[in-house]
Symmetry: D2
Subunit: 354 residues, 4 copies
């Protein structure tokens, strides 16, 4: 299957290149009759831009599927013009392989060496996901399902109490629940900016009020589809939910979540997903992103003929996918959960409670 769509019943198809005339998407399968808060979606895009080096107004043009501010059940298409594409930024290094960057593998797979931005592999493509996720989030909110993400690690600075996210997240751009840690994280970003370096990060995501039973065994487990959703984001290197990686060192007698009499659990090591199905507890997971590969300093490399060369980026490049990626993690989560909620609706019926 062609790879630019995600979701079965609620499906986003993404198109457009970083330095083409626009990026855009088509949302197919959005139920009819939902009133859309367009300002809320614009606000997320504005928030994203606050730390971005490339300034883009990100004016969304809604093309179809809406009438009087409501969804019609028809595909919702939108485009966002690229206004700030300085191709000349890239021409001087036109034939260099950029370390840990898409250009070599795209060249080999597609037979084209597109030196101009990074085309579809650019982080700019994720704006499309944020817009589609904005629609999905509004559908979920009608059912009180709420998705929030947090920066919980940048470089060696980590917030270790995740998923206990009560605190200061609303008060700093990184959405780190601890204000002092947020400051330290910002220091690292600033240091990278000065050094022409970049840095990795870990994002945590929490979903409240998810109904029990989302997920379709055995392959389309909710955990498996969330993993795919998040690992499809640029630079993602790892995904865990619930106790996650620490599960490797735990014993069953420590790890098991015991039941209360109301069928809630005393602990939530499973992170809200049991046997691949949402179990009614809070859903939480983390995603780790590698440092952005484009550095504003010299790197050894080779050109397309194999000759050694030195590459130093120009153009406008962020030093960390955080905080912009927060909105992308929330968006992919929202799309994935909406798709599963529609499947849940499809299969539930009056016979199964007989």
């Amino acid at each position: 299957m062609a790879g630019n769509s995600f979701g079965d019943l609620f499906r986003i198809t993404s198109f457009g290149e970083s330095h083409g005339q626009c990026i855009g998407g088509v949302i197919d399968g959005c139920p009819a009759g939902i009133t859309i808060d367009f300002d809320a979606i614009d606000a997320v895009l504005r928030q994203r831009q606050m730390f971005a080096k490339r300034q883009e107004p990100n004016k969304i043009e809604w093309l179809s599927g809406l009438l009087d501010g409501k969804t019609t059940g028809m595909p919702i298409a939108f485009v966002i013009p690229n206004t700030n594409t300085n191709a000349e930024d890239y021409t001087q290094d036109a034939h260099l392989l950029k370390p840990s960057h898409a250009n070599y593998v795209y060249w080999q797979k597609y037979g084209l060496f597109d030196y101009n931005g990074s085309g579809r592999a650019s982080g700019r493509e994720t704006v499309v996901r944020v817009v589609a996720g904005g629609i999905a989030k509004q559908y979920l909110l009608l059912q009180n399902i709420d998705i929030k993400s947090y920066t919980i690690q940048i470089g060696e600075v980590a917030f270790t109490d995740f998923p206990n996210v009560e605190g200061e997240a609303e008060n700093n751009i990184l959405r780190c629940p601890d204000a002092a840690i947020a400051e330290n994280m910002l220091d690292i970003l600033e240091k990278c900016r000065r050094n022409g370096d970049t840095v990795g990060c870990k994002i945590g995501c929490v979903v409240n009020n998810l109904p029990l039973g989302l997920g379709e065994p055995v392959f389309d487990k909710l955990s498996a589809d969330l993993a795919k959703a998040c690992m499809s984001i640029n630079a993602a290197k790892a995904f865990e939910y619930g106790i996650g990686y620490r599960a490797a060192e735990m014993y069953g007698s420590q790890c098991n979540d015991l039941y209360n009499s109301g069928f809630t659990t005393k602990t939530n090591h499973n992170g809200g997903i049991l046997a691949g199905l949402s179990n009614g507890e809070m859903l939480y997971f983390t995603v780790v992103f590698k440092p952005i590969p484009t550095l504003m300093r010299n790197q050894e490399t080779v050109d397309i003929y194999g000759n050694t060369a030195v590459f130093k980026a120009c153009g406008r490049h962020d030093v960390c996918v955080a905080p912009k990626v927060l909105s992308v993690v929330e968006a992919m989560t929202a799309i994935c959960l909406t798709d599963h909620l529609l499947k849940f609706n499809a299969y539930k019926n009056d016979y199964r409670r007989s």
Copy 2:
């Protein structure tokens, strides 16, 4: 979409319950003309059984899609009878919610409380994946693509040199590359067995000779589909590839893989996948599994009416998904890679090199 199929062009559909008459599967989309080594598949199933508490001969009955030992291009169906299903093992605890176990969520989703084994949620379902993966592995081997998995952590005992797996893996049942560490891991398993406890583990997987270009941007990245493949395995809690979780603490200047003049890379922090496409380097990733939730000791719980109760498993239960899960990780990897290889074949053509 119904959730019991995985893959688009090479697709496995799985069926059967742990304590039903059989488990089985249908492989659709296997190219015609491949000579199948059935003994190799049987050997993997025998190997799996060596540490298993439930003894099953796992006799595969091949039902279709084969002629004179070769694939015909038609769907390959198979069943494996369940011979050792002691339903009475389960009747005494018929109405108890088992901690961290599927029975409560399945009951709520499907309206059935199946106390009998754990139905589709049982690890037994993974045998189907191993058989289908066995076919996929043989297809991949024709192109010299080789998949191997290793136990790299059980409880607090870890092999920390992954993906450097040269060593003793062939000589111990856990396929741990270090013989002494393997002994310590086995000690933990033995201790669990004595204590009625269980333990988590981490599995590493390495793929050699994968061609460049597998993966379909932007959603069906090879990394995203491998994450889904592996996270769909029972008890999986985390997935990482390449440098993985450590990427959060790294700087771009440390993490980037620099190119050699032959387009290979000096390091392989990306784990063989760049921008979602295989880049021709060795592919490696890890998967973490939680402890098996069924303990042979008392656990507090509630019954289906919410009354407190004590649950102590009977039946036959393993203490760790390793080493059995090694074959499942390899199988899901093989199915995922075969599916992507067929897509690669579909899209490549003579025009892209013009």
Copy 3:
């Protein structure tokens, strides 16, 4: 995508060859809690056999997905052993291309020349569809949706009042609404049997009580998916719904269905589907099947080396796909409608009536 599955949310995967050990299928996505009337499914298979030359007991072995006679929401797998496979019937003509038959094209596509029955291309594969359709029909009946098919043409003998099917259909094996015409049709079949010839037919199908709104514009129109469902049956050559082929010669002033005040229509030239959606009127359509290509008389042909030869079938072959195909048309219709009904459930919500 591999081609042996049909449906998205309610999906049948079919496997098995005509002269292999069995045929079978997996139904994925059947809602939980439905009580299955197995006798009803067996009765359809017995009915099918009454005119068949090859005698098969068609004993269905249900393998999974059922508990205490109800669906569990898990995949429902089944196999039907082939008991009556006289391979020797085919060996004498092992290297002949059979006119209008699958063997040449399968050979070229898959590189195998399977002279043994016709493998997957045999009409025997349709038994799998009938079983899966039997489950779907019972799901539909819970909602009072009723599917019935009729033989309306065999050779030059036609029942021309379709879709007015009140009458004698229950009293003759062809389910022709007119008893006298049914006799004439049976005479043609008998003549074919005597002459070693075969004959084509047209089947009509009527669905009552279908709710309004099934079908997903613009590509997955109900009419388009029914066309695919029916045209995927062996030997199908044409599909029409409502006024069908006669629409080419009609004027809009004749063809339009005018509305009554209760939103029903005065005529039903649209056959229950308007703009690709069921409109609440009776659904009706026809499917035409070519004569079975295997004749019990000499036909000129060539062998696999291109040498001229004469082929005269042995084996046991029907003279017309009717009446056996009646159950297949109903089954594919039931599968298609169930799949669309689940999609309808997925997308409907409380917001769309605001």
Copy 4:
């Protein structure tokens, strides 16, 4: 699955309403490196417009997936602005159910009564298919596969020699192979225009040089997918391939296609598809379309409250889907064949000829 996409490996996603700001589409899965002749696509759209009542410049804006006139392997998005949308044409009849028209069923399904044009159900949506099909046709032409369609019936005037299409098709706008019959067809269209009536038609389509083996048994037969492709076009009521409907009255001894020594066939009653696979002979089929339901004369109807009323269309409406639909039939055929050709590439390998 959301219904606005067609194809698996080569997939078109369509969006936009008749009287919205634009219509458009995304083509995902087009192989890289194909030089596109944009003028050829524009020419088809211009040709379409020659008989259309609504004048639209149909200026295609290509948004992505192209570089220096070649496909890049990335999704190809395009929009076509609607310039000529006189919403006021529709307001006077805002609450009337239009006979045989989408508005009632869309209202019931989606909860919206869109009186404004017919939204997605308008024939205008088919322009998107024509553009996507234009890309597909160019891919097919690289392999010498050629698709041509013909008007073979309008009302009572029919060209009866189809698929013998040698003749005058290039010299009349209806592409009827016989010039005198074309004149009679045009007379009928003119008569409808004078009478405020509309008329049905039959379109024939011929594909030359299709390789043997396209189609994936047993459900994704080439014939089944072509039927779906064509029956998804607005107003389609019937589909047949090869001998088609006449097969019902034929005997096997008449209908079978006998082989020549070179494996070609003496006749082509199967229309180029045998057992669901292309067999290397010329592919041909027909599609019947009902009269356009919007008449420029009074029709009895009811309003949304069930009160009787009279509807007389204003707006700009064609009298027959021909000749515009010729390009749509070719386009859907091209998309379907390209999708199957990519699947064929996926599964073919060196092992199957061993």
